[in-house]
Subunit: 273 residues, 2 copies
């Protein structure tokens, strides 16, 4: 019989995935989590599909070495290209951020207009467009790459004139489209929810794909009978492939809580596995 | 006897180093150049010193496999930590961007006040400060990390209100210091020279460390009797470890000229060398 108290593994190319962990912890407080951020090789977005798939398989293998019962791909680049390879390679359930995000948005804007913002890579490979089209072919989709949002989130410039101006500059074209929903297609973007909301207008529903992924994970675990029977607060462990300066400070802002200990995984070990 | 027409190797973590190649080509038009941009592992700045040294050695080994007579480290992160390891490992002359940049600035501001802007990593490890202090201990140094400048340069947002505002926000504190010179301590920054100049004031001499590195390279080659005797325009070859979307467009903006062909180097090959 499977041990229900085994942890859920979550990986991302860096720290952005911690906004997804934040939502997972809110939704599944009794579950244990093991996070791996591939900070030595961040960002995945600028890399070729083959490279991203190779890295995603390595990241997943590391999580499986920590005995996880499921894997959440909290990285848009990896979610857009590596999910089939991960599902083919491993037995555990694999949940990404893109399909759940697209479903969640389509439910909130039936037959309507949905905007997607993300990094250059996520927008260029049209990951959300394809997912949305397969969920509901009637949805109208508008996409926009917003490369400045990631460093703005990392700087912590939330309530700033610069950030409002950047959001305006990127999102002005969405104003006249009268969107029903806007998918935040990058795990950094929920930190900028306020200026993004102001730029697109209050009537647009912002979709945090971390929320959607947490919902999808809970559902998948329930369906498979894999929910933990533990009643306390689940343990959370954090691993990275490199520890950059100020990492803890930024990571805690993304996670929304303190991180006791961050352990480093050797990249060579990861490759040899 | 050494073949003087062997190329000069230049490496960087990505495309930023192309602004250094631009200056090298201006200064040494008859030399051949081989560029390697480690785009699959960019940026180096966020990585630990050990990782950066490991990558720099791999990058240099690739250039040496292309038979280069000298190596220019056109990457601030690698220049700040990997030069001793590179010099110990290889026989060819190795020129970085930091020491030449510091020397160049110190010559222009004898006993004066010098500002340094760069990525978080370059500023945190105080690379330019240390180099400046060893060139001239009387110089007063003021440093500032400007993480937004890289994506602004890559977006090509040069003559924009947002960029002026970001430059103001980062550099306002330098205004009252009455700097003599400001070192652009990141290879992306020369693209933003105009808004940076406007933010610090017209009296501050901007130091492009690409210009300084090109001068140092020319001098080193002359001293060692390694200058090419070729009289035509030297051949230029470009290699990267990954080819991201829009790479050619951005790369050409950085280099200031057309790039005919960009070849991809397999990362596994690089590691095994």
């Amino acid at each position: 019989m499977i041990d229900l108290r085994k942890p859920i593994g979550v990986f991302d190319s860096g720290i952005g995935g911690l906004t997804v962990v934040k939502r997972l912890v809110e939704k599944l407080p009794n579950e244990r989590f093991v996070y791996f951020g591939d900070t030595a090789r961040v960002p995945y977005g600028a890399k070729s599909n083959e490279t991203v798939i190779e890295y995603a398989l390595q990241d997943a293998r590391f999580l499986l070495s920590r005995n996880v019962k499921a894997i959440v791909v909290a990285c848009n680049s990896a979610s857009s290209v590596a999910i089939p390879a991960l599902r083919a390679a491993f037995d555990v359930p694999v949940v990404g951020v893109i399909e759940p995000g697209a479903r969640y948005a389509a439910r909130r804007a039936p037959g309507g207009k949905i905007g997607v913002v993300g990094t250059r890579a996520t927008i260029d490979n049209r990951a959300y467009s394809r997912a949305l089209a397969s969920v509901n072919p009637d949805v109208k989709i508008f996409e926009k790459a917003c490369p400045l949002f990631v460093p703005l989130a990392e700087e912590g410039w939330i309530d700033e004139e610069v950030t409002r101006l950047v959001a305006e500059k990127y999102l002005a074209e969405f104003r006249e489209k009268e969107l029903d929903a806007l998918i935040l297609g990058c795990t950094h973007y929920p930190l900028l929810a306020a200026p993004i909301q102001a730029a697109v207008g209050e009537n647009v529903a912002l979709v945090d794909s971390g929320v959607a992924a947490a919902e999808a994970t809970a559902q998948e675990l329930t369906t498979l009978g894999l929910r933990s029977d533990f009643e306390g607060e689940g343990e959370r462990e954090f691993f990275v492939s490199d520890v950059p300066t100020k990492f803890k400070e930024v990571a805690e802002r993304f996670l929304g809580r303190e991180i006791e200990k961050i352990r480093k995984v050797d990249l060579e070990t990861l490759r040899r596995r």
